[in-house]
Amino acid sequence: MATQNSRTAARLMMAPTVILLLGWMLVPLTMTLWFSFRKYLPLRGGDMGWVGFDNYVRFVSSSSFWPSVRTTLIIVGSVLLITVFLGILLAILLDQPMWGQGIVRILVISPFFVMSTVSALVWKNIFMDPVNGLFAHLWKFFGAVPIEWLSQKSVQSIIMIVSWQWLPFATLILLTAVQSLDREQLEASEMDGAKPLQRFGYIVLPNLARAITIVVLIQTIFLLSIFAEIFVTTGGAFGTKTLSYLIFQRVLESQNIGLGSAGGIYAVILANIVAIFLMRIVGKNLGA
């Protein structure tokens, strides 16, 4: 049993991590909170004093706020739908007996390891370039007029790029969950005459529910803050400005720190709402 001594030692051993994370969380967040209540334009007059909730009101009433919320919801929602739906199909396919399973897994998982600036640029140029891109060649081959992807179909293009990046993650996690399904239960249902679709609906899907929830929550947290994919493709133009990109522009491009900070606080609150659900699930698992 742990003695008093080892308990003190344990606390000391945790101290560095706790102090670092506490500092990392509290110091910048307090500063953001402080700036959000001030009119602060470093390049045009500096800190011009306390303005109460002015920035919070102005951030949500600016003409770019609601479009950015809409874009964020469309991108996050679509990517979640695509990756979870295809991820389930892929996970089930990869679970079947086949030759070269290990290699197929490697092929499927690879996009996850490609840094976001690379995948964004490769898609933007080599695939989506309206003149020399592969898609343009393909469209011309079928006699169609090539699409200017990142200006005409900008949001769809970003959804495509981001889905390609996150499909491996969803697939891998769902595959892990599929592989831990109770084989006897499945075989029993097969012997009882359940059709493949019935087995999927009544046994596979309910057992995947937890894994799906985890994929959705974790991806949501990462997807809410996608940055490089927009930064190097459209730079926020053509209706691709997400909430976090809008905040980035307010802070670094127009150097309106007060306004950007108020936006930042909104983003923190939004992320926390998602995080609470994720923590519940993770926390339950810890208790076991």
Partner: protein, 276 residues
């Protein structure tokens, strides 16, 4: 009869899975192939798949024109440094939570995880100010510290789930035999924990290598890692597909190979032990 049926199914599965796998992998494959083409061949219509004059020219030009090696070293220092630093800080914390748990251990773990959920953009300006104040802007040290803090929750969690699986009885036996805390860690825990630490190291190295918010916003010329180096190719300058591909291939090849070896750890690390 049944055997033939299962074999048929296996063939269909194999064709289907390989087809989809290659489709998903295609953008990477195409980038690698393009990196060995001339600029003219890279945009040829119809596209050329394999039968072209392979050239190493792009790699030479990329290295000469933009000093690729320096960005590569920056990436290695930043990703490697932040991961190793994070592990040094996290091992004692994870050890104490796994072996001397208290009533609050669960809450502390969840709180640590919650710091990971903090959206970076919400603290961009404060960090920017602090970096200017401490002279850390565009420095390897500054980025190493930031990436260490960002990945610290994941590092602690991964280590914790690995340490949890080490049988406590062995540690108690060592304690009864009179081993001090130090030798308990050094000679009993470490050998059993090294596989877990290695996996944690691999996954977090990849995450730090690919991090593209802070590396883009806090670096300029000096400390820029590969993420920023690639982003500098976003302004089109005439024919450059082949060079972009060469630069991209060099930036992603090392971690893709590391990534293949850490698939399992990826699941554990990024679901915080909720899916194993």
């Amino acid at each position: 009869m049944t055997r033939a049926v299962t074999n048929n199914r296996k063939i269909i599965n194999t064709i289907g899975a390989w087809g989809i796998g290659l489709l998903i992998f295609f953008p990477i494959l195409w980038t690698i192939l393009t990196s060995f083409k001339t600029e003219g061949m890279a945009i040829a219509d119809p596209p050329v798949f394999l039968f072209f004059d392979w050239t190493m020219e792009n790699y030479r030009v990329v290295q000469e024109r933009s000093n690729y090696l320096r960005f590569l070293l920056n990436s290695i220092f930043i990703a490697g440094g932040s991961t190793i630093l994070g592990i040094i800080v996290a091992v004692p914390a994870a050890w104490s939570m796994a072996f001397v748990p208290s009533k609050r251990t669960k809450d502390i773990l969840l709180w640590m995880l919650s710091t990971k959920m903090l959206p970076s953009v919400g603290v961009l300006y404060p960090i920017y100010l602090l970096f200017i104040h401490f002279g850390l802007l565009d420095s390897i040290l500054g980025l190493t510290l930031i990436l260490m803090l960002i990945n610290l929750p994941i590092i602690v969690w991964m280590l914790y789930t690995y340490f949890k699986e080490i049988p406590v009885e062995v540690l108690e036996a060592a304690r009864i035999d009179g081993a001090s805390l130090k030798s308990e860690i050094l000679y009993v825990l470490m050998p059993m924990a090294i596989p877990g630490i290695a996996s944690t190291l691999l996954l977090n190295f990849i995450l730090a290598w690919n991090e593209a918010f802070w590396t883009l916003n806090l670096t300029a010329a000096k400390a820029a890692p590969l993420t920023a180096f690639i982003a500098s190719y976003s302004s089109p300058e005439g024919l450059f597909f082949a060079k972009l591909s060469a630069a991209s291939t060099m930036a992603i090849a090392p971690v893709i190979v590391i990534g293949w070896f850490s698939q399992k750890q990826l699941v554990r690390g990024l679901t915080f032990g909720a899916v194993k």
